[in-house]
Each structure stands twice: as C-alpha cells, then as structure tokens.
C-alpha cells in the first residue's frame, strides 16, 4: 500500500477546561484525545463518527494543526508536523484546507463571494489571473458565474456551503477536513452537497476526513470509518466491514439507534445500551 497521507501515533491533546477555571489564574488542562493511532490513506475519504464530546472535532482541528498535540506524533506525507511552529506550517497550509459546519458564520458577510474565494489564492501568491481562477472554482461547485458579485446573505444554505467548498478547493489542497458540513442542511440539499463532495474528491484525488454524527451519510461517502468515544478510538475499519460486522458493542448501538425511514414496529421498544444521558 502507498504511503499514507497522515500517520498519527499516540496522539494526545489537552485543552484548558474552562468550566474548572479559577477566578484568577490558568484553567487546568483536560485531556480531550487520549492516545490515538491511525493512518489516513492518500486519496481516501475517512469518516470520523462519534457523539458530542467524543473528541471528533478536536481530532480534525489537530490534523490541520489548528491545535498542537500535547503528546504523540502527527506525520503529514512522512514529515513530522506535530510541533511545527506557525511560520514553518505556513507553506503547508495550502495543502490542509477546511470546510466548516455553518457557512453562514464562516463566510465574511461584507465580502463578495468572488472575494471570499479569492482570499486564500491571494494569500498564497496566486494573485495573478484571479478572475479566471475564481470562475473555475465557481464552476467546479456548480454555481453560476453571476454569483461572484453576491454576498452570503443572498444565498441559500446549500449555495453557501458550495461557496465553502469552492474556497477550500481553490488551492487544490491535498487534504480537506469536512466538519459536519451537512448537519445544518435540509435532506434534499444535503444530498446535493454530498454528491458534489463525492465527485470532487474522486476527480481531484483528495484525501478527506469527514466528521459527522450521521452514520448513514458516512456509509455512502467514506471508504473507512473511525468510531470515537470519550477521546479514544472504539473501532476503526473499512466502511462495509464496520456496518456488516461491527466488532464493538458501542458501534452496534450507534448503528441500531439510527431511525431508518421505514416501518419497524419493534424498533422503539428495543432498548439502547448506549451511554446513560447523565
């Protein structure tokens, strides 16, 4: 097998726990990720699933080095980026892009769509021929050219998320982190966005970490899945294997708790053994 794009060993991340912060002084650290080992194969889409508080978003933000690990190592294309300082990270940033959950808050309200998509291009010294590059990015995500001069509030939720994708892909990155990118969208729009991401990932040979709480979406989009719970990996395997033969009780619970859109009279009475909601 080819060299993985990301290789993560013994990854620990600790963040300040603001709920325990004393009035004066620093907040004590809470360990959010408790020693993770995994690889992201180049050109694959990996689903990261877990309930709230499982650490899936922290993991994503650590991969793109918005957070610095407290222990362990993160290798990107074989290079150790675990503790690289910001200056050394800068040239890597164009290869590590993000699509956010809520495009309403991640798109600048005072800039036109063209200027939002152009911003990362400018910053990375690709300021020549901007118009053509923006046009190409719009076309790639299926938005009409006339959108270039519009503002975010003039767009629907699905169109805004297309802009988010266009911005992330404008630099032709190697890796894209997609953190709950369809959870705010209606099902019909969700299907469009996922189909688009699926197509672009394949065309551009992207490596994608797709964070979601929705296993149904993950099954469609991802080649492998990492199931997280309370900062640890419960189970990681190929998608079909995970659904056909989940090895862990927790994974089975997560799958069984999904309400499928079909009549199943016994479903509601089947108790879930998932974590008690206290």
């Amino acid at each position: 097998m080819a060299e993985p794009l990301f290789s993560v060993r013994g990854l620990k991340v600790a963040l300040p726990d603001m709920t325990r912060k004393p009035l004066i002084g620093r907040a004590p650290l809470a360990e959010i990720l408790k020693g993770l080992d995994f690889d992201l194969p180049s050109g694959s889409v990996t689903g990261i699933v877990g309930e709230s508080g499982s650490g899936k978003s922290t993991l994503g933000r650590t991969l793109v080095r918005l957070l610095e690990p407290s222990a362990g190592s993160v290798r990107f294309e074989g290079r150790d980026i675990t503790h690289l300082p910001e200056a050394a990270l800068r040239p890597l940033r164009r290869d590590l892009q993000m699509i956010f959950q809520d495009p309403m808050s991640s798109l600048n309200p005072r800039r036109t769509i063209a200027s939002i998509i152009a911003a990362p291009l400018r910053q990375n010294g690709l300021g020549d021929n901007l118009k053509a590059r923006v046009a190409e990015a719009l076309q790639r995500v299926g938005l009409p050219q006339s959108f270039a001069g519009r503002y975010r509030h003039e767009l629907s939720g699905g169109q805004r998320q297309r802009v988010g994708i266009a911005r992330a892909l404008a630099l032709s990155p190697k890796f894209v982190l997609a953190d709950e990118i369809v959870s705010g969208l209606d099902v019909s729009t969700q299907a469009q966005i996922l189909t688009l991401l699926e197509k672009l990932a394949a065309e551009m040979g992207l490596t994608v970490a797709f964070i979601s709480h929705d296993l149904s979406v993950i099954r469609r989009l991802c080649q492998q899945v990492i199931v997280m719970r309370e900062g640890s990996i419960v189970e990681a395997s190929a998608t079909d294997a995970l659904f056909d033969k989940p090895r862990q009780a927790y994974t089975r619970d997560l799958i069984a708790a999904i309400p499928l859109p079909e009549i199943d009279a016994g479903w509601l009475d089947m108790p879930s053994t998932g974590k008690a909601p206290i």
Binding site: V187, S216, R219, L268, D269
Partner: protein
C-alpha cells in the same frame, strides 16, 4: 367523539402579504401521534405555534378555524383562549437549554406552570412533578430539582421538559423537533420515552420533525408539508409503503439509509421542484384573500 384538534383551511400571511400557511387542514383524534414533516420553510413549526397561540406578531391568520376538543379557538376572547390553550396543551421544544430559565433551579420552573396557570397547591404540584420525573426515569429527583439547567446533559434536560409537558395531563402536546439537537443514542431513548408516556396518558401529539426516520418510528399519521401547504396526508404505514406525492417520494429518496447507501441520498429532481412550484402557484391563484 370529536377530534382533539381540528384545523380547517388555515391560511396565514406575513406583513407583505406573502402566504406562509396555505389552507392547511388536519384533524388529530385523541391519543393520535401526527407527524408534520417537511424541510425548512415548510411551515411545520408555524402550525404548532398557531395551535399554541404563540405566532410571531409578523404572522397573521387570515382564514380558517382551529378547534381544540370542539371549542372554536377563534370565537373565544383572548383571555379565555389563553386559559383553554394553557390547560389543555403543552409544548416539548427543540432546544431545552433555551426553553429553561438559566438562572432558576429546575424544581420551581417545573411547578410554576401548575401553580400559576392551573391554580394547584405547591404540594400537589411538587408531588405531581416527582411522579412524572419517575416516569421519565429520573431516579434522583431531589438532586435534579435542585440543579440549574446548565448542570444537566442535553438528554436530561429534554427528560425534564417532557415530564413538565405531561405533568398537567394536557390533551395535546406540540413536540417541535424534540430530538434534533440530541445524539442518536439519546434520541432513541427520548423517542421511546415520549412514545411510552403518550400511550400511557392517551395524549395526542403534533410531532414536528424534518426526519422521515423519526416519522416512521413515532407517528400513526403524517402530513407532508411544502411551502406551508399539506401536499400529502396518510397513515404512516401507508405513506412508507406507497408514497403518492412526487415530493414525498423525492424526500424519501434523499434521506440517507445506511442499509442502502447508493439508493438513498438522491438529490431532489428539478422536475419535482418545478411541479411543486406550479402546484403552489395554482393554489395561490385559486385562493382569494378574505377581507377583514
């Protein structure tokens, strides 16, 4: 037996004259769980708010009747209407954190409604709340009643609000996306709980949701909404066996299913949307806004 809730021909408009509810009719029998399903802007929450008499001031009802256990809400004086709605209905909201007052303990928030609106004694209200907390499987009511909302998890907060909703024995509960903010395993527990309490108390529920999966598991009948119009109404089992409206079929095909990943998640076809737009336009053309 008269219907628990009977909405006939309800239309509502915004200040600019745009219709947001388009001649909505639906009748809930006592003890029935009716799902209102649709995408954002479909008007499903609006119907719930109209029933509870809490529409925003920008929305005006211009036509139609709402009857709660036979009583015509439109014919009552505002004060009498509020009393009737307060006594016979309750709400389970989407986000329990915003529905609870952050600066008051859970206990008084739960008993308040019983004491102030229904005129119960404090003791009676307290006993009732404890009984309901037991029914929603909260095993340490003393602790929970003394906590503040932020000290509880999302699932616990939702249990508290379910207990509060059932406490006054309403005939009708409006549940507005009550599990949308919850994790999937907690969602299942909460759906089970709502189902069990609903059966035990014989309460009718207007269950607002965008998730056809939830519709399939909790409701007996379903109204599919688009742009404030009921495009299909059916028994839930019949709807899933043979959806009639093209939009219902498109919604089903768009809903992800892990058992069938490649047949699901299909984007809604343009012709379906064009058909819907035409349907809405012709309904609007046929409709004449009543004066007054």
């Amino acid at each position: 037996m008269s219907a628990c809730l009977d909405i006939a021909n309800l239309s509502a408009v915004l200040a600019n004259g745009q219709r947001v509810l388009r001649s909505v009719s639906l009748a809930l029998q006592p003890g029935e769980v009716r799902a209102l399903v649709g995408e954002s802007g479909a008007g499903k929450t609006m119907i719930g708010k109209a029933v509870l008499g809490v529409l925003p001031s920008s929305v005006r009802i211009v036509e139609g009747d709402m009857r709660l256990e036979g009583e015509d809400l439109g014919k009552l004086q505002p004060r009498a209407r509020r009393t009737l709605i307060g006594a016979r209905t309750a709400l389970i909201p989407q986000d329990p954190l915003t529905a609870l007052n952050p600066s008051r303990r859970i206990g008084p928030q739960m008993t308040d409604r019983l004491v102030r609106i229904l005129g119960w004694s404090g003791d009676k209200a307290d006993r009732r709340i404890r009984q309901l907390l037991d029914e929603v499987q909260i095993r340490d009511p003393d602790r929970v009643l003394k906590t503040y909302p932020h000290e509880l998890s999302g699932g616990m907060r939702q249990r508290v609000l379910i207990a509060a909703a059932f406490a006054a024995e309403p005939r009708l509960i409006v549940a507005d996306e009550p599990t949308t903010a919850l994790d999937v395993t907690v969602q299942k527990q909460i759906l089970r709980l709502i189902g069990a309490l609903q059966r035990e108390h014989g309460t009718a529920i207007l269950f607002v949701t965008h998730d056809l999966g939830v519709v399939a598991k909790i409701s007996q009948k379903v109204s599919v909404l688009y742009a404030g119009k009921v495009v299909e109404e059916a028994e839930t089992a019949a709807l899933f066996a043979a959806p009639r409206h093209p939009y219902t079929r498109a919604l089903m095909a768009a809903t992800p299913r892990y058992t069938d990943p490649f047949a699901s998640l299909r984007p809604v076809d343009e012709t379906v949307l064009a058909g819907l737009a035409a349907e809405i336009a012709s309904a609007d053309q046929a409709w004449r806004r009543p004066h007054g």
